[in-house]
C-alpha cells in the first residue's frame, strides 16, 4: 500500500447538493471520512443527517455534486452497486427480516456479498463457508445463543445489535451507523457502545447519534450539520468548546 492510496479518504463528498423544491436538505457538503475513521455526524432534528446517509448510500440521487469511495466516483451507481463497493449502513428504525432467524438475517447479507444469493439450485444453508462466517460474526458480537431464534422474539437492544451484524456481513469499508442506540433503554446502550468500540479498526465508521455520551465516547472527530450544511468539524474537545455549536445544537444563546 503506497502512501498516496493511504492518503485517499475512505469516503468523500464534493459539493454535494440535494433539494426538494425550495427545501434544501444538503447544500454544497464537502465531507471527508478517513480510512478507519471513528467520526460522528451530529446536528439538531431536521439538519439533514439521514438525508446525507441516503445520498451516500444511493437511496436519494443528489441534485448536484459527487460522491467518492476510496477516490472512485460512485455518484451514478445504484444502491446495490455501492454496497458491493463497500458502503454499508444500519437503520435508525430497526429494519430486519423479523420472521427469519438471527443467523438467517446475517447469512442473507453474507451470501449476497459472495454473489451466491441468486442461486436457484442448492438449498440455502448448505454452503458451510456462508453459515460459518455468519455464525462467527454473531459470536463476535455475543449473539450466538440467539442464532436460531426469529428476530422478532429478541429484546429491542439485541435487535439493534443484529442491525449492526447484518451490515458487518457485507464486509464494508465504510459503515454508516444511523442512531445505533435509538430506542434502547439507557441501561442497555452500554452494550452497543462496547460493540461499536470493538468493531474492526479498518472499517471507517460514521456514527449519527443524538446521545452525546455515546458520541463523545466513540468519536475521534465530529462533524456538525445544520440546515443541510456543515457548520463546523473538529475534535470532540473543539466541538464541545465551540460557541456556535452550543448556540444551534444545545439551544444556548451566545453571550452578548
Amino acid at each position: 500500500m503506497s502512501d498516496a492510496s493511504q492518503a485517499t479518504p475512505a469516503l468523500e463528498t464534493k459539493a454535494l447538493c440535494k433539494s426538494f423544491g425550495a427545501l434544501s436538505v444538503a447544500s454544497t457538503i464537502d465531507f471527508s471520512l478517513a480510512r478507519g475513521a471513528r467520526q460522528a455526524l451530529i446536528g439538531p432534528n431536521g439538519a439533514g443527517k439521514t438525508s446525507f446517509i441516503n445520498l451516500v448510500t444511493g437511496v436519494l440521487a443528489p441534485s448536484d455534486g459527487r460522491i467518492l469511495l476510496e477516490g472512485a466516483d460512485i455518484t451514478s451507481l445504484s444502491q446495490a452497486q455501492r454496497v458491493k463497493r463497500g458502503i454499508a449502513r444500519t437503520f435508525q428504525i430497526t429494519a430486519l427480516f423479523r420472521g427469519l432467524t438471527v443467523l438467517e438475517n446475517v447469512t442473507l447479507a453474507v451470501s449476497e456479498r459472495m454473489g451466491m444469493a441468486g442461486d436457484l439450485h442448492r438449498p440455502a444453508g448448505s454452503r458451510r463457508a456462508i453459515v460459518d462466517e455468519g455464525y462467527a460474526l454473531l459470536a463476535s458480537l455475543g449473539l450466538e445463543a440467539d442464532a436460531l431464534r426469529p428476530v422478532r422474539e429478541l429484546a429491542y437492544g439485541r435487535q439493534r445489535l443484529v442491525e449492526i451484524v447484518v451490515a458487518l456481513g457485507l464486509a464494508p469499508k465504510v459503515l454508516l451507523l444511523d442512531e445505533p442506540a435509538a430506542g434502547v433503554p439507557s441501561g442497555e446502550s452500554g452494550i452497543i457502545v462496547d460493540t461499536i468500540e470493538r468493531l474492526p479498526a479498518d472499517i471507517a465508521l460514521l456514527i449519527i447519534e443524538h446521545d452525546m455520551h455515546l458520541v463523545f465516547r466513540l468519536a475521534k472527530r465530529i462533524t456538525v450539520l445544520v440546515q443541510g450544511a456543515i457548520l463546523v468539524e473538529g475534535t470532540p474537545a473543539e466541538i464541545a468548546a465551540d460557541q456556535r455549536v452550543r448556540q444551534v445544537y444545545l439551544g444556548e444563546r451566545a453571550p452578548a
Partner: protein, 332 residues
C-alpha cells in the same frame, strides 16, 4: 482468519440450519391422497384432473404472492397465454402434449418477463391495478382476434395426441388425471427447490423488508422479475394442462375470475407455505362442485359464506390455523 476459524458454527446449529430443506413425511401426504383418490373416486377423475392442474396454478401464484410479496390480480394473463399456446398448437396439428407444455411455459414466461419488466417498477395499489390491466388487455386481444382464437365461442378443433405416444386421453379422464398429477409433481419439485434456495430466501427477505434488501446490495428488481417470470411460466403450464385435458380454450382463460378465484383458493389454504394450494384448491373446487349440486341457483352464496368464516375464524387459511393449533399444543 484464525479468529473466524475459532468460531466455526457448532454442528448442531449448522445441522438445523442446513437440514430445513429435507423432506418431511407429511410432504408425501398430498401425493398419497392424490393416488388413492384415483382409485377411490373413478367417477370424479375429470374434476380431479382440473383440481390437480389448478393446484399448479395456485403453486405458481404462491411463489409471487406468498414468497416474493407481489400482490397480483392478473395471474390469468399467464394461465390464458399457456392455454392458448397449447390450444393453438393442438388445433394446428401439433398435438404432442409435452411440446404443448413446453411452448406454453416459454410463451407465458416471456409474457411475464416483458410485462413484469414494466409493471414491477411500481408497488402497492399501482402494481395491483397494472396486473389487472395486463390480464384485461390480453383478454380483450384474445376476444378481438376472433379468426385465431375463436373469440367467445372458443377455440375449435383441438386434437391432443396420446401421452408418450401411448396413452390416449380417454372419456373417463384416467390419462388426464395421471398426466396432470405427473406434471404437478414436477412443478412442485421445481417450486420447492426454488423456495428453499438462496434465491427463495432472498425473495422472503424482499417480502419481509425491501428497504433492507436494497441496503445489503440485493438487485431487488431483478430478483422479483425472475420470480415473476418463473411463476408466469408455471401458470402457463397449468393453463396448457387444462386446455389439453378439456380439449377446449375460450377467452375466459384470461378472465378476471381466473385471477380472482385462484387468489381466494390460495387464501383458503394459506399463502407463503408451499402447500396452501394443495389444500385450498381441492377445498374450493370440491365445495363448488358439491354446492352446485345441492343448490344449483345459490351455490355461490355458500362459497361466500365459507370465505367469510375463514376470514373471521381461520386467519392464515387452513395451514395458518393448523400452525396455531400446533403451537398451542406444544406450549402445554
Amino acid at each position: 482468519m484464525t479468529e473466524i476459524a475459532a468460531h466455526d458454527a457448532p454442528q448442531g446449529t449448522v445441522g438445523i440450519f442446513s437440514r430445513r430443506h429435507r423432506l418431511r413425511w407429511t410432504e408425501a401426504l398430498p401425493w398419497v391422497i392424490a393416488l388413492a383418490s384415483y382409485f377411490a373416486f373413478p367417477n370424479y377423475l375429470a374434476l380431479g384432473s382440473q383440481i390437480l392442474a389448478t393446484i399448479l396454478y395456485g403453486l405458481s401464484l404462491d411463489l409471487v404472492l406468498g414468497y416474493a410479496g407481489i400482490v397480483t390480480l392478473g395471474h390469468a394473463a399467464f394461465f390464458g397465454t399457456g392455454a392458448y399456446a397449447a390450444g393453438l398448437l393442438a388445433a394446428h396439428g401439433y398435438g404432442e402434449p409435452f411440446l404443448g407444455l413446453v411452448v406454453a411455459a416459454i410463451s407465458a414466461g416471456i409474457v411475464g418477463c416483458l410485462t413484469g419488466a414494466i409493471i414491477l417498477r411500481t408497488s402497492g395499489l399501482t402494481l395491483l391495478m397494472q396486473t389487472l390491466m395486463v390480464a384485461a388487455m390480453l383478454h380483450e386481444a384474445a376476444n378481438k382476434a376472433n379468426s385465431i382464437t375463436g373469440g367467445a365461442d372458443g377455440l375449435q378443433g383441438m386434437e391432443v395426441k396420446p401421452v408418450f405416444g401411448l396413452f390416449r386421453f380417454d372419456l373417463y379422464g384416467k390419462t388426464a388425471y395421471l398426466y396432470c398429477l405427473g406434471v404437478l409433481f414436477i412443478g412442485w419439485i421445481i417450486v420447492r427447490r426454488i423456495v428453499y434456495s438462496p434465491f427463495g430466501r432472498s425473495l422472503t427477505g424482499i417480502r419481509e423488508n425491501e428497504a433492507r434488501m436494497h441496503a445489503i446490495g440485493t438487485p431487488v428488481f431483478r430478483r422479483r422479475l425472475t420470480a415473476y417470470s418463473i411463476s408466469a411460466a408455471l401458470a402457463g403450464v397449468s393453463g396448457a394442462l387444462i386446455a389439453q385435458t378439456t380439449q377446449f380454450v375460450a377467452v375466459d382463460a384470461y378472465g378476471f375470475e381466473r385471477s380472482g378465484n385462484i387468489l381466494i383458493m390460495l387464501l383458503l389454504g394459506g399463502i407463503g407455505r408451499l402447500y396452501g394450494a394443495f389444500i385450498g384448491v381441492p377445498l374450493y373446487m370440491i365445495a363448488q362442485d358439491q354446492f352446485a349440486e345441492i343448490d344449483p341457483v345459490y351455490w355461490y352464496f355458500w362459497i361466500g359464506l365459507l370465505l367469510v368464516l375463514v376470514v373471521l375464524f381461520a386467519r392464515g387459511g387452513a395451514l395458518g390455523t393448523l400452525e396455531r393449533l400446533k403451537a398451542r399444543w406444544s406450549k402445554r
